[in-house]
Symmetry: C2
Subunit: 209 residues, 2 copies
Amino acid sequence: MCLIMDSEDDHHNNNDGTDVLSPPFNFSMVEDGIYRSGLPRPDNFAFLDTLNLRSIIYLCPEPYPEENLKFLEANNIKLFQFGIEGKTDPPTPMPKDTVLDALKVLVDVRNHPILIHCKRGKHRTGCLVGCLRKVQSWCLSSVLEEYQKNAGLQWRQRDLNLIEAFDIVSLRKCLLSIMYRYHGYGFKRRRLAYEEEKVQTPKPQAAKV
Amino acid sequence: MCLIMDSEDDHHNNNDGTDVLSPPFNFSMVEDGIYRSGLPRPDNFAFLDTLNLRSIIYLCPEPYPEENLKFLEANNIKLFQFGIEGKTDPPTPMPKDTVLDALKVLVDVRNHPILIHCKRGKHRTGCLVGCLRKVQSWCLSSVLEEYQKNAGLQWRQRDLNLIEAFDIVSLRKCLLSIMYRYHGYGFKRRRLAYEEEKVQTPKPQAAKV
């Protein structure tokens, strides 16, 4: 049984002759139009191509790899970089303001379909998705369960604390821009329509970010 | 920090006064319109309600819980039960034919949005999702990575073997019914349109299952 893939071989083949797609490490779907993963490598580009991405949120301070930049350019994908330090020695607190800035980009459907990634798709990506789940009214135990499932044995208490303490009230104004998308799920509930706020329909073509 | 939720309390409240939604244990999104989880409990019904489910694939031989049946009836959700034994002592092989039957229901978009669940959302559900990923041309290492992420420390070699050996060729005919859905992702690639087969558009209202 083969559990290890040869990274140099970027064109796989099934028994039946069809091409095989290789998602990035730790890939999964968060919501319709929102994906998460570790850093994509060239052998994942064919898979990414099927997602028709409009943007990527990259959560590391390191410059984006040259080959990934070329892929983005060729596919007209916008890059939003938020440099969050990944090192834990010395332990640095996750910067709340940066997470909030990334969340504002994330909830804007004009940027969807969007992929969030850091290096391994565990801590920085996990924090951002965790904060999104709070915005979606998920109960805290489920938010933390999802974080831990993706971080595996390397989950960090620091991240759980950030997610738990994260204040979603300040995000309310941005929510207007995602409403119609979440409403797309089911028209029975309009959970994100607070009070008497008017719903603005985002204009994917003409809108300014 | 609260990691344990009181199962009797099915109406939670956030700091800011909004209701809190509690997804079922081990919940995640597989694809647009396909979800997976462990057995939903009554305190998860408010969350399930937001998914606007059309059907549920239940993979255990035990009768469906009475309160869950009531929820399904009240929301007009169709139940597809495929009784796969969960016990491993004595070790029983996962029945390939039953997995194939479940997969046929799963790939039919007339049943979407659909939730797959067994008891813990790990082994039986993991096998079915793993076979779906093969149909989607995911490379085997990524399919197994996803299985293991959801099964955690309790992953079983038997399940990995089933997924690896599962023959997707027999499913080709059923693929016609999901094509337009997967095409919805991105119109650039028409990966599932094999050869010169004609694409049938499913008719959600009048179609026979």
